[in-house]
Amino acid sequence: MTHFTTNRRTVIRGLAAIGLAAPAILRGRSAFAQGRTIKVGHVSPRTGPLAGFAEADEYVLEGIRAKFAEGIAGQGGTYNIEIITADSQSNPNRAAEVASDLILREEVDIITAASTPDTTNPVADQAELNEVPCITTDCPWQPYFFGRSGDPANGFESTYHFFWGLEDVIAAFLAMWDGTGVEKTVAGLFPNDADGNAWGDPELGLPKPLAAAGYTLVDPGRYQPLTDDFTAQINAFKEANCQIVTGNMIPPDFATFWAQAAQQGFNPKIVTIGKALLFPSVVDSLGERGNGLSSEVWWSPYHPFSSSLTGISAKDLANGYSDATGRPWTQPIGFKHALFEVVADVVKRADDVRDPQSIVAAIASTSLDTIVGPVDWSVGPVKNVTKTPLVGGQWQKGDNGLNLEIVANATAPEVPVTAEMQLL
């Protein structure tokens, strides 16, 4: 959290009175001085194993804050929007704590969160209970919705989410595989975590649509995350002569699997894995064996979208990040920017920004073309959820190392294909 408010003083006064407090905590400032400031909380995993997702936070927020400093013209006048960030430390317990702190202490008007169910779900749960408008992204919608025991008939009151779903990832994967003529036997690697259970779910996950598309899925069951032995899985895949490997893994698990597959002579033609292969740093760490791996692509510099807030194009935003930091672009950059595009749009349209009901109504009626594509909650698979386009991409060797190229766009033809799918 970046600053403290007056309320903390009351508790400290209580403690100090009995001689238990130290002065270090007494810094603070009034939160209620400005009349027209909208406070927006943002929870993301800045540190810990998920830190890659929030790597670009500083850069993206800098741009957003510069824009917000000009003020946002709303229904009741011009508003300042103050963004208060909090680090979930990649820990759902901590995410719940900081979310409740943002809601109760900072009294944020809107709370946002991004990156994986471990961040979005605890934050959304706190927001729902406290009836604070909440917008989240960067987590497939099934783990978000069903993982929070959501009921499609009723949905949630205050919490809204935009991203894609498993049906999109399946379609994007199939689009990549279909043209290659590889034998349709697929190895499935699903961990026992929020994403893995959703992807492997026999009803809502990959098995049914894969079967419908004529693929045979070999699923040896859920493995425990951070396992160090994939021999059983590799043997099952070799026995079934799997040519394609898919699933949803965290980077260390994929690295373990991929190394053991090489040692044990399992050489599939296509490896398309969700989550693990998003980041250039991870794929680079695999060395030569990173070349040709494929993954879902939710955002890239090639996406033909631009920001509704600053007008910047996807290409310029990605290049700007690379120029500023010297690091390659990553997919969360676009979604982080889009999250605050939605926030600004909601503030513009809300009848009364001091009234949570009014903000929620404005979120629900959003229809905005963002840097990640259209965000519109009136069209969604379930209440509170809307989807953005998803395509398939492959890491291919370029002039400066591996680049993520778009190789299949049947799911979102507006995104141009930049290279041909290659077999391993």
Partner: protein
């Protein structure tokens, strides 16, 4: 003339009398906090009480019974899952579920104790951790409770605590305050009982204690089961606040054991005052430094090492050595009588 004639044996001191009066006043003031504090502060205090309870309980185990467990997260997580299972599937009121968690925790602790008490020293510590991992992996297989994905507590269950947001927050605050007060009272009374005397003897010297006829296995067993039950109770309250449980969060060794050990070690192990001082110190550090990310954890580690080297008995041990102050009248002391003759 015997020693008894010339010396006085006593427990209660002026300091402990003042401390008990101030403590009661403080408890009253804190019980009234919902009327004079903001929601965020209530929430923070609630968390402080829960950590204080965990620290008190771990101190009973490690500081008195010599059972250095690094697996208390097994019971914290169990409490969370008991609350979720009983309210979501059993349809019980959260109060009932929280109450039952003590019993369930104690029952679960009995076979666990029988198993891990075969191990000693470092093996015991690792054994408790293994048990906690078994719990974590076990709950990760229960798909009705969300498996590895975790599950959220339905908003209706939380709303059934009380009508309206203020009443709900006050209720959940009082639950945590009551929990900390109860744990402290139980620890205090337990240590003053026969069992407690035996424990104190074990703390000071296990061999000597057993030569005095103390049944060490039984004493430790009773402590382990009582602490297991109460830790489960604290766990159910923790996850009533978190609203969401997943195996990694429920059985987190960092959140529910490492921080607790830190609190007890810097506060002063083997005293009732230590965990209180430690909890205050820990939250002061967390509230001021947590924004620093990884540096915060490095600072915590450095402080723990410094305290262990400079003041192995913790901050409270330091105070006690300097002043002889004791706030809880536990140990007996001997002092020459003020006499006119000689």
């Amino acid at each position: 003339m015997s020693v008894v004639d010339t010396h006085r044996v006593f427990r209660v001191t002026t300091a402990s009398r003042i401390a008990s009066v101030l403590g009661l006043l403080l408890l009253l003031a804190l019980a009234a906090a919902p009327w004079w504090m903001g929601r965020a502060d209530l929430r923070l205090l609630g968390e402080i009480y829960l950590y204080l309870s965990l620290a008190m309980l771990w101190n009973l185990l490690a500081g008195y019974a010599g059972l250095v467990s690094v697996g208390q997260q097994a019971y914290v997580g169990l409490g969370g899952y008991v609350l979720f299972a009983l309210t979501i599937f059993g349809g019980l009121h959260p109060f009932t579920a929280i109450g039952l968690s003590v019993v369930i925790g104690a029952i679960v602790a009995i076979p666990v104790a029988a198993l891990i008490f075969r191990l000693r020293g470092a093996y015991f510590a690792i054994g408790t951790w293994v048990i906690a991992e078994v719990f974590r992996l076990g709950f990760a297989q229960v798909s009705a409770l969300g498996g590895g994905s975790g599950i959220s507590l339905p908003v209706d269950v939380v709303r059934s605590l009380a009508d309206g947001r203020d009443a709900r927050e006050a209720t959940s605050y009082w639950l945590t305050l009551g929990c900390a007060a109860a744990v402290m009272a139980i620890a205090y009374l337990f240590l003053r009982s026969r069992n407690g005397l035996a424990l104190t003897a074990i703390r000071d010297n296990e061999l000597a204690a057993s030569s005095l006829g103390i049944d060490i296995w039984r004493s430790k067993f009773v402590v382990y089961v009582v602490v297991g039950g109460l830790t489960t109770f604290v766990g159910s309250l923790i996850f009533l606040q978190k609203l969401r449980i997943s195996p990694d969060a429920a059985f987190s060794v960092n959140d529910w054991t490492a921080y607790v050990i830190f609190i007890v070690v810097i506060g002063g192990i083997g005293s009732l005052e230590g965990p209180i001082i430690g909890t205050v110190a820990f939250f002061l550090l967390r509230e001021t430094l947590a924004d620093l990310g990884s540096i915060y954890l490095i600072v915590l580690g450095a402080i723990a090492i410094a305290v262990m080297l400079v003041a192995p008995k913790g901050l409270w041990g330091l105070v006690q050595d300097l002043t002889g102050l004791r706030l809880f009248p536990l140990g007996y002391r001997v002092e020459p009588k003020q006499s006119r003759k000689e």
